[in-house]
């Protein structure tokens, strides 16, 4: 630790501090505020969810989850995430590639557009799709006559989820790819690699950590999305209810234990995502640091 030049002999070590460090009061005040906030708004609710869920013991918890409607909600949520996340992975990489590595007209517009799902309320996003695919819309009758069901069915839920989650991967990758520039790719091409080989052996390894992080965030949101999905799903029990919707239904029916059990499962999925990310970061921290430093 570097010592301040004001710390001459008769000063005690407590007065030794660097220019950027605050007084003790300010320091502990800041830490205490942050901890209180985390405890009050994050840990406490999480604890409530799990205690409520396990109120009648773990046996009841498992019974509730075995309910066919709840089970179908879990399956649907996983299915939607399994479709939406890969789609957004591909889209995110394409969009980030285009924005970071090429110059073209409308680039600034595209960059702004990618943020749209973040800035529009999810309920509004859901309504957009109702207007787009509903029976009074332009393509609604055509869809109906061909027997294609989008609204109040799985396709609608998938579309709404894809829309809501599409900024995550792209947002994570754009600054990373812009910082890395194009010379690695140019080096690979000059050595005779094809475009695909260049992407696979050079670009992808360079962005894999950002990509993984984006995918995890995207997945967490895809499983947890409520607003937009609620509008397009139609709440058909056992068919178009995802886990967040199922939580709401159970709660409104005063079936608190079941509601909290599903909520706990959802929270658990989110926690697993976070833990997975932290573990990966810990395991590969040296590699991540190296790839940023180089």
């Amino acid at each position: 630790m570097a010592h301040d030049f004001t710390s001459t002999g008769h000063h005690t070590s407590e007065t030794v501090r660097t220019a950027t460090s605050e007084s003790r009061l300010a320091r502990y005040g800041l830490i205490a505020t942050a901890l209180c906030f985390v405890a009050l708004f994050l840990l406490l609710p999480l604890a409530v969810v799990f205690t409520e869920a396990l109120r009648n013991g773990p046996g009841e918890f498992l019974t509730v989850l075995r309910d066919p409607e709840t089970f179908s909600a879990i399956r649907l949520t996983l299915l939607v995430a399994a479709i939406a996340v890969p789609l957004n992975l591909v889209f995110g990489v394409c969009a980030a590639w285009a924005i970071a590595k090429y110059e073209f007209k409308g680039k600034a517009f595209l960059t702004t557009l990618i943020d749209l799902p973040f800035s529009v309320s999810p309920v509004v996003s859901g309504l957009i799709f109702v207007l787009l695919f509903g029976s009074h819309s332009l393509i609604g009758p055509w869809l109906q006559s061909h027997g294609i069901q989008i609204l109040f069915a799985v396709p609608g839920i998938v579309i709404a989820t894809v829309f809501i989650t599409f900024p995550f991967v792209a947002r994570e990758l754009i600054p990373l790819m812009q910082e890395q520039g194009t010379s690695d790719e140019e080096a690979a091409l000059s050595l005779g690699a094809s475009g695909w080989q260049t992407f696979w052996y050079v670009t992808l390894p360079n962005i894999k950590w950002g990509l993984l992080y984006g995918v995890l965030l995207c997945n967490a949101r895809a499983m947890g999305e409520f607003g937009a999905v609620s509008v397009v799903s139609g709440h058909i029990r056992g068919l178009t209810n995802t886990m967040p919707l199922q939580v709401e239904i159970l709660y409104n029916e005063y079936n608190f234990v079941a509601a909290f059990a599903v909520a706990a499962l959802l929270a658990l999925l989110a926690l697993v995502t976070l833990i997975l990310k932290t573990l990966l970061e810990m395991k590969f921290s040296a590699q991540i640091a190296a790839s940023r430093r180089h």
């Binding site: 000059s190 094809s194 080989q197 790839s291």
Partner: protein, 349 residues
């Protein structure tokens, strides 16, 4: 391989980066593209590589028109200023990359690729470091890996973009000598871009001086230094003095004083006299010399640099003298350039 650049023009949007540039590069030659930033030297290098396409003009590799070929098909070796090593691959994998990505029909067996990569690492004096990652190497070592990687594909031509630009002075000097050695041993036709005149003059067989998208002069380092053909080249290469003079009666005049330099054959009129600080002889303060008072005298390594006030505003002359020569501030000195060039008005560099 011989490389010919013919009447190349390149525009970025509406900004002309290269304007009607032609250049013949001989097989096995080590050639430097030298110029200030914005002179188009890097653009020219990237055009030869195929990383850029010319707006107009042709690039020949041997007798073959390479203009329509992609960068992959040209089989070149390109070394980037900031190395562009693949950071997630070991040194060995970096060097083998160009061979590993080949189609199966053209790809040597794995054992042979490994052997060749190790041999190249030996050549660039990095034997034993093949398992390291780029982040574990110094700047100079990284650039040597980059060179080995480029040479692994047996390139038609080796292209280096400011290869030593990101290194500190000491390493630069070492790598410079070393690159010359490597070149003499392997015989690859090599083009390198630099803005450092010492680097170009020391290293290259021929130097191409560029400015504002055009080639100013092509020649051996001696020709470029001793016979610069334009005010720009004179001013850009080495130190130079510029004095406004008048030509009359086969003599050069400053005001009404002849400077004792015969300029027979030069038309009368105003001109600029260019000469190097070390191309001077001291004289007694007589007619037929340039005389001035010493403004600043500095000892720089093995020579004494003396700045003279010669009575023309905004025009101080710097000359180099032996260090034992006394030159107190305010004392008078007279000299005459022994080697010089005249450039006419409007062409001052």
């Amino acid at each position: 391989m011989e490389v010919r650049v013919q009447n190349i023009r390149k525009e970025f949007g509406r900004f002309p980066a290269l304007n009607d540039v032609s250049l013949d590069i001989r097989s096995g030659e080590l050639i430097a593209l030298l110029g200030p930033s914005g002179s188009g030297k890097t653009t020219l290098l990237r055009l030869i590589a195929g990383l850029e396409t010319p707006t107009e003009g042709t690039v020949y590799f041997g007798e073959e028109d390479a203009s329509k070929k992609t960068v992959q098909e040209r089989n070149i070796g390109f070394v980037f200023q900031h190395y562009a090593l693949f950071r997630h691959m070991t040194v060995l994998d970096n060097v083998s990359f160009g061979l590993k990505v080949r189609k199966a029909s053209r790809r040597p067996p794995a054992a042979e690729i490994r052997a060749r990569a190790l041999e190249l690492l030996e050549l660039v004096q990095l034997g034993g470091l093949e398992k390291r990652y780029p982040a574990q190497l110094s700047g100079g070592q990284r650039q040597r890996v980059a060179l080995a990687r480029a040479m692994a594909v047996e390139p038609n031509v080796l292209l280096l973009d400011e290869p030593f630009g990101a290194l500190d002075a000491q390493v630069r000097k070492e790598l410079r000598r070393w690159l010359r050695e490597i070149h003499d041993r392997t015989g690859h036709t090599t083009v390198f871009v630099t803005h450092d005149q010492d680097e170009a003059l020391e290293l290259a067989d021929r130097v191409v001086v560029m400015s504002k998208g055009k080639i100013e002069q092509i020649g051996t380092p001696d020709e470029i230094y001793d016979q610069p053909n334009s005010p720009f080249v004179f001013g850009f290469i080495g130190e130079s003095n510029i004095i406004p003079v008048r030509v009359g009666n086969g003599q050069l005049w400053i005001g009404d004083r002849s400077i004792g330099v015969s300029a027979s054959g030069e038309a009368d009129g105003l001109a600029h006299l260019y000469f190097r600080p070390h191309d001077v002889e001291l004289l007694d303060d007589s007619d037929g010399s340039i005389a001035g008072t010493v403004a600043v005298s500095r000892r720089v390594a093995g020579t004494r640099h003396v700045e003279l006030d010669i009575g023309i505003s905004d025009c101080r002359v710097e000359i180099e003298l032996p260090p034992e020569m006394a030159a107190a501030d305010g004392s008078r000195l007279a000299f005459r350039p022994t080697r010089w060039r005249l450039f006419r008005e409007g062409a001052a560099g």
